[in-house]
Amino acid sequence: MENGKDTRLDQLLASYGADRARWPEAERMRDGGGNEPAQADAESIDRLLSLASTVSAPADAMSRLMQRIAEEPQGAKVIAFPGGSSPPRSRVFRYAAALPLAASLALGVYLGAMGSLDFMLPTSITGGVALNDEMPDDLGGVGEADAYAEESLT
């Protein structure tokens, strides 16, 4: 309260109007006083709002809606569990599955770089190509393409 003026009362009047039935229930019994200008202002805005149109849906709007619903397929049925969503896991649990994968990747890179596992691999991969002096002159018969082309012309 400031100089006998209740600022919360001003806020209530400005937000909800002068009709206390429209105020939050817990604040309806609040004492008024020193807020006459705000009270008068709120009353006049209430009167303006009370002049707005009274609206109701067209009489057959609901039947049109139900007609549409009858034609509308339902999507996938996902029923929510009554207890709500499960509590979020901590970060440690969330990334637990990634740890062994990351460890095996690191181990694989390390062993591969050290050559520790070369004895397990076939020679064609570990050095067969390098040792093979008889490299084919051509790969996949591409070099013979001209010959085929010439043959087809003659």
Binding site: A42, A52, V55, A61, L65, K77
Partner: protein, 197 residues
């Protein structure tokens, strides 16, 4: 299995949603009969009575029908519908429309005849139009709390804002409305013609 519409009338929203998820049209019909009017009124208020107000309200219910389980808290079904409908209205207002007559508000502004005295129905149209011209969030807060009588807590949930934000939006909406009607203020509050009262 319940098939009588009167039996559904006794059911809670949670029971109706569960039945609707099982493709029960009668259960969904009860949801429609409970909440169609407030959802339609909200859309009408937000769109100033646009021609597609019924379609927008309808869409909210169709979305619900397509997947009733998306309503996580059955107790907040009305709020969920209002949220979906108001989001649709706001999306619609942001969509560019070129030459679409539906985009024009249905409510004419009686200020077009400034010399003529306002009767009650013209005053209503004038105020409806000015409410519809408020910024989206102010208009939504005012529609939910003043016109639909939602508590500040429920309105805050629909709009996904704090109660303080709702109160601020309401105060701004009321102030903006008063300012926008300053020219007609005296006539609206005291000098309405007897015709149509």
């Amino acid at each position: 299995m319940l098939s009588d519409a009167s039996a559904f009338r006794q059911m809670t929203d949670a029971g109706l949603l569960e039945a609707a998820a099982g493709r029960n049209h009668a259960a969904f019909g009860e949801i429609v009969s409970r909440y169609h009017q407030p959802v339609y009124r909200l859309v009408w208020r937000m769109t100033a009575g646009a021609a597609d107000a019924e379609d927008i309200a309808q869409e909210a219910f169709v979305k619900l029908w397509q997947n009733p389980a998306q309503v996580r808290e059955a107790g907040a079904l009305k709020g969920w519908l209002m949220r979906v409908a108001s989001n649709a209205v706001i999306d619609r207002s942001r969509r560019p429309r070129h030459g679409d007559l539906d985009a024009a508000p249905e409510i004419h502004d009686p200020q077009a005849r400034p010399d003529a005295p306002l009767d009650r129905s013209e005053a209503a149209k004038l105020i409806d139009g000015r409410i519809a011209a408020l910024p989206d969030r102010q208009r939504l807060a005012l529609s939910l709390v003043y016109f639909e009588g939602l508590s500040n807590i429920d309105a805050a949930q629909v709009m996904d804002v704090s109660i303080e934000a709702i109160e601020s939006l309401l105060a701004r909406a009321r102030r903006s409305l008063k300012e926008s009607l300053s020219a007609e203020w005296r006539e609206l509050l005291g000098g309405l013609t007897e015709t149509g009262r």
